[in-house]
Symmetry: C2
């Protein structure tokens, strides 16, 4: 075996020939230990069909690595080799992890602000449609994709998938003890393509919308499936583990204890400690995201205003992955206007959280982006991209003004301002205030003396940024509370909704 | 004295000469008992200055009435007279009371649906401005006015009133034991003019925005003032008692017990049992509207979605008199767009409640409708009028679909429909569904067989009503739950926000 060169956080893979008789998925164990000086990482290999076993590894330290395998099969045991981990290429910033409690960053320190979209079953459509989805993603500026491993049986989602997750007999019965390598090869190809495009794959491991028996497999199969995913996909640096879409709709056959166990398995066995979360259906069924296995909070909730409360409750990054979708289906979760979708994104981001995009316009062939991908028909995706640009231009992750001490707004004003407006800041030097359905003709703030500021008015719908008209008042007007020893700045605004104000030192 | 003819629910008034020395407000008691057969009503008279005492009475039974007075002053005691109560004129439907638990009706049974506005201090402006306000009210279609007895000291409200509520000495100090009759004559003239226009006067008795000492008078003065209002104004059939605007901001000097006592005084002493409520500032300070003195719930709350819950909690009519105002001031409560104001009105009404309008556009002379009246500058008032027409055309008060059994929507669909859409019905024959920020291309419902229905699509912003495109489907589409034994109606919609659907048998 040659000494492969793999960039830091890149994907190393080695294949080995081993037994194909019996049931390799059950009978054969394979692990490999990768070492670089004091660093040692143990990974699990997996059977990929046709007598081929694979070991994948993501090195995170530059330099020479060596490995040896351990197996209960002689043909796979004690294999060894080397790889050289080299500097990452320019677009490779490493996997995303939690940063600064409520935010995310790549391993090299580059901030990562999730602006994701949702195509649950895009990998289960025709090749042509999948290619079209990738093309659309190249044009849009989403940096995360929520996608299910399993196909979907749901309104607007009735087609058979091209591949099934397990081996099928002629009667179409699947043997849950034998994974179908072609299914997973295909799925991971798509994950790898997203990686190349800089898109995180928020992989949904279970979901309730099923007619193939994938939702209610037995406990042992569930655990084996989860471990198989870790072995196959864990080394892709863009992988996030989302245990479920709407886990609460599966509690009848997959009780809470099992969900807790899934988190434990990932905690104990995923060598890369990929991000882990779980998504619920009903608001009252929120998983207890305080449990230690949960790295960040994934929520389905219409009321983005609650993000400040969720931050307090969980002390983790908040991603409302279903703040409802732009579309025109009769389900309210898929029927909001582009204006409302854009509004909710701005609202949650300027309260220190993150949102998830989706699009559900009815289509003559039932190709709705949210499930199948294809092309985008709406208007909010562009505005989400515009917001992403603004946030990536900020000096760091934002904290909500609501409930925080402020050096810019008097305490008495903060109460009524942040009960309705949303506003966030980073340090003393950056404020982003979103006015939503409010259209004040004037807006006031109080800035420390001796500093120069730049004030912008952002039209979140028309995607324009203009310098604001600002005056420094000799005293605050009678409708405001004064802020001792700081001058009052008055911004004159055009009196229309969906504006944001940016203040930078 | 002549035998006056007074129409049913009209205003009878008689004046008597009595003592003007001492302090007539403290020293003189005056009551009158009006009788018509078995009917007997005791009313309190009041001193109107210059030695003149008045007794007012609203007869509610047609026929001959006689009265006699009781006083501690010989000049006022034992006076008697007659009046003839005649049929009411066409526009006089009598006072408004609670009807059908959650709604209102006039005494003659005519439904009354409140679509009110707010001009807190309009009676304390120049004569010219007050006349302009009346003119505007003639053009608009509001049928209730929230208005304070006392003048207002607040941002955009700094002018002195033309009259003061109590006698003033040369130093400008007011003697709280001596009401200023001119002040009250003026105020009741305006109440009477509203009556002529068919507008209910929602009279706010106390409010915290004060620099004249009216907000924190002593307890005895408060009670005397309340009784004086009942004596002077109670006989106007368009009077509603609103104990306060933002009572919770006065609790420091007017404790909860006193507010409870005010309700008790009205309960015991207002011969006409006029509607009684109280308005709060912070949402968490909601008065306990379950107390028996409260006839209907007056709320200040931004989240109109909660109306269904409030109906359950209080079992009384709900009026959210401050669901925020259309305007452009920096306070969020006075800065929403016309679209949002209209949206909130529709949302609350189609959930079985009522809203209150206000308008707060900044003005070079600080003439903001919400406080001073004048002219309307906005756009929502027309839409509120349009909504009023639609509601007055309904067969009766509406009940929310949320939480109710339905003969039109399968139970499983109701859960997700009414968590986001709003919809209300009256009996089996009338449904009004509001889609808000949702824009479904198709909408489904299930109607009992053998009936013919009329379907309308209402554009709440453009104020149009068009017949809907409807098909009866042979079976429901896969995205809906079937409703056994009822055909599925599919409405084809134009895919834009702020639509309502009206279904009438």
């Amino acid at each position: 075996m040659t000494n492969q060169k793999v960039e830091r956080w890149g994907l190393f893979e080695e294949a080995f020939n081993g037994p194909s008789d019996g049931n390799p998925f059950l009978d054969v164990s394979l692990k490999a230990t990768f070492t670089n000086g004091a660093n040692s990482v143990e990974v699990t290999g997996f059977y990929d069909g046709d007598g081929i076993y694979r070991v994948r590894f993501m090195p995170d330290v530059i330099g020479e690595w060596s490995y040896t395998t351990q197996s209960n099969q002689a043909a796979l045991d004690g294999k060894s080799g080397q790889l050289t981990c080299i500097e990452p290429s320019a677009d490779n910033h490493g996997p995303v992890g939690v940063h600064d409690t409520f935010h995310f960053a790549h391993a090299d320190g580059t901030p990562y602000y999730p602006f994701g979209t949702t195509c649950y079953a895009w990998t289960h459509q025709t090749e042509e449609l999948q290619e079209q989805t990738l093309k659309t993603l190249e044009e849009a500026s989403f940096n995360k994709m929520r996608m299910c491993v399993f196909p979907k049986d749901y309104p607007f989602n009735k087609n058979e998938p091209p591949y099934y997750a397990f081996e099928r007999n002629e009667a179409g019965e699947e043997d849950h003890s034998r994974f179908n390598p072609v299914f997973f090869q295909h799925f991971e190809k798509r994950v790898g393509q997203l990686l190349e495009m800089g898109i995180e794959a928020d992989i949904i491991i279970w979901h309730p919308y099923d007619r193939w028996g994938y939702a209610n497999m037995d406990e042992e199969t569930d655990y084996r499936y989860l471990r198989y995913l870790v072995a196959r996909l864990g080394a892709y640096r863009n992988v996030w583990w989302s245990l479920a879409n709407e886990y609460d709709f599966m509690l009848e056959y997959k009780p809470m204890e099992r969900w807790d166990n899934f988190f434990q398995i990932l905690l104990n066995e995923d060598p890369y400690d990929r991000l882990r979360s779980i998504h619920q259906g009903h608001p009252e069924d929120m998983y207890d995201h305080n449990k230690p296995g949960v790295t960040h909070v994934c929520i389905q909730h219409v009321d983005v205003r609650q993000v400040v409360e969720w931050r307090k409750t969980y002390g983790k990054p908040i991603v409302d992955d279903e703040l409802q979708y732009e579309g025109d289906i009769v389900y309210p979760w898929g029927g909001i206007t582009a204006e409302e979708e854009t509004h909710r994104f701005w609202f949650i981001v300027t309260n220190g959280g993150y949102g998830g995009h989706g699009e559900t316009y009815m289509h003559s062939d039932d190709i709705l982006w949210w499930a199948k991908g294809g092309v985008l028909h709406g208007e909010s995706w562009k505005r989400v991209g515009f917001l992403r640009e603004i946030i990536e231009d900020a000096p760091g992750g934002l904290s909500p003004h609501q409930g925080a001490d402020s050096n810019v707004f008097p305490q008495r004003m903060s109460r009524w301002l942040w009960s309705q407006y949303s506003g966030a800041y980073h340090g003393d030097d950056y404020h982003l205030i979103y006015l939503g359905v409010y259209q004040p003709a004037r807006f006031l703030l109080w800035l420390p003396v001796d500093d120069a500021y730049q004030f912008d008015v952002i039209d979140t719908w028309n995607m324009t940024i203009e310098p604001a008209q600002v005056s420094v008042l000799s005293e605050p007007p009678d409708y405001a509370y004064p802020f001792p020893e700081q001058p009052t700045y008055e911004l004159i605004l055009p009196g229309k909704p969906y504006l944001a104000l940016r203040i930078r030192k």
